[in-house]
Symmetry: C2
């Protein structure tokens, strides 16, 4: 490849991401100065937070500016280097290297992929990457489920939710998953062995929660926000914990999302609601990795990757996150290891 393809933000989406929002342009392949590394992207991560970064809503990082390369996580292989720490050929995590074939990064922003023989690269994009860490810290550090407690996970078939649900099961909790569609619900029930599953596309969430959680809800790992979150929190027990990980149901909306119809429940039930973003936990990633890596190696933890081929398809593929038409961690395969 003689040039660097880059997806550039052209206009902020209003509602769904439209074809006018992102443009694929071509530029030169960057060169590495001292301390810098050029990484050829192998996989690009597509995540709900991409939609946040495209907007100018109040958010946890600066929005991507119009005209800039779209931000995104990924892994790649070093092709040119000005760093002793990252030789040509090394496999690295590029942090938020962006939607492009080649990432120019300072060595301090890169990290080597851990050597785990037999683990596919897609694992480092999912269960051993940001989504797995998100699941671990939200469930283990914030929800802290105890044996016998009832845990509800929304978007439970998603890359984060499915790992979070399994971590709660391992701690002896009763886990109820909410997902959209028969196939996802079947996977949660039959393969992940969740204690209850709700298909929000065909069932009334509140009615099913009443049926499946006769003793109320102790923990909520929340990925969706909006009406589903409201239905869950309205059924939470005293001292319940909510790990607020995402509110994907609201990201395509305009203006702020109000969230709860009965805020006083937080007081009356002495709930704790904690918003979190995985970048804050990266210094503690080793704690999560210590549990997740052995489970991935042994095959005890189930996970799925939904791989879309070709950087040119990224802008279309990201929309799958909002329709739920993907199955597993959504990512784009941009290049092959050489």
């Amino acid at each position: 490849m003689s040039h660097n393809r880059q997806w550039v933000l052209r206009t902020r989406p209003v509602g769904e991401i439209g074809p006018e929002c992102l443009e694929l342009v071509e530029g030169p392949i960057p060169t590495a100065g001292p301390g810098e590394v050029v990484v050829r992207t192998l996989y690009l991560s597509l995540d709900p937070t991409n939609r946040i970064w495209m907007s100018d809503m109040d958010q946890y990082l600066p929005p991507v500016q119009v005209g800039e390369v779209m931000r995104g996580g990924g892994i790649g292989q070093v092709v040119a280097t000005g760093s002793d720490r990252f030789p040509v050929g090394a496999l690295v995590n590029t942090g938020l290297g962006g939607w492009q074939d080649y990432v120019l990064a300072h060595q301090d922003t890169l990290s080597h992929l851990p050597p785990l023989p037999g683990v596919p690269l897609t694992a480092f994009m999912s269960v051993l990457g940001a989504t797995g860490l998100t699941a671990w810290f939200g469930m283990v550090d914030i929800c802290k489920p105890e044996a016998g407690e009832t845990v509800v996970v929304s978007a439970a078939a998603g890359a984060v939710g499915s790992v979070a649900a399994q971590l709660a099961k391992r701690r002896g909790a009763r886990v109820i998953g909410i997902a959209g569609g028969k196939d996802k619900c079947r996977w949660l029930a039959e393969d992940l062995k969740l204690d209850g599953v709700i298909d929000y596309k065909s069932q009334d969430v509140g009615t099913e929660l009443d049926r499946l959680c006769p003793n109320g809800i102790d923990c909520n790992f929340e990925n969706v926000g909006g009406a589903i979150m409201n239905d869950v929190i309205n059924r939470m027990n005293n001292f319940g914990r909510v790990a607020l990980c995402g509110m994907i149901s609201t990201y395509n909306g305009e203006g702020p999302a109000s969230g709860l119809d009965d805020f006083a429940r937080i007081l009356m039930r002495r709930l704790t609601i904690k918003g979190f973003i995985i970048i804050d936990y990266l210094p503690r990633a080793g704690e999560a990795f210590a549990e997740l890596a052995p489970l991935v190696l042994s095959g005890e933890l189930q996970w799925k990757a939904h791989v879309v081929d070709g950087l040119e398809n990224a802008a279309e593929a990201v929309k799958l996150l909002f329709s739920g038409a993907h199955d597993g961690k959504l990512m784009v395969k941009v290049g092959e290891v050489v």
Copy 2:
């Protein structure tokens, strides 16, 4: 006194507490069986939560039932006893003994007032009672302000808020108090030496918060709910903590109170919102007492009691909490120590 006057709930309030809600009736003075104690009430505590208990909204204790004696905290003196632990004459905390001259209680529900020479009984109804403990746990255990952080306390001139604000000041925080009326605001600024004061009755809270909190808000000790809470939380910094202690602005309303206009801020700013009720912390009361008691004895901690004389005036007096026309911890003096 040859009979026991009792305030009985006759009908649940709709909106403000009306004269039809509570009736003062007379009955016999109870007698103490084995393990039981009859306590003559000295002081009855009036609190915003009385309004919650009168309603049948979802709440943290069973609502008071129509026909039952109104629930309320208090202290009193033992006048008849079937308990070795509580002799006649002992001064005790009756827990939630109720709005009545005489409380019949099992010995396991009573506790002796701590021996603190020179401390008036009204202190045990306020700064060394439930409101002081509430302030301590909300501020010290939940908000955890650090030196230099900005803390906002709503209802800051109230029995809970004023102690919470002083505890934050002692930890080196910048403390902004929100209160209603010139006199309360002057007390907060001049006597409590808060770093900023907002009179919500004559100033725009949002505008004043912008002016007084140029670096945003790190902690919110929330007593009011509604629009004031919304104005505060919308200005909170990353990793901010909210101790949700009360939502008095909503208690006279019908139906649930939605609370925040931008729930996603909890996620984007990684806020923690924790509802709490002091009864959950009573087993840990000693931790709070260890800081509060010396400060009360030395006079370093300022507090005010608003004492209304006569049990017969309780139903009228409780309404002061909602108009804000009281000044300090509201209580009814029911009897004298003998």
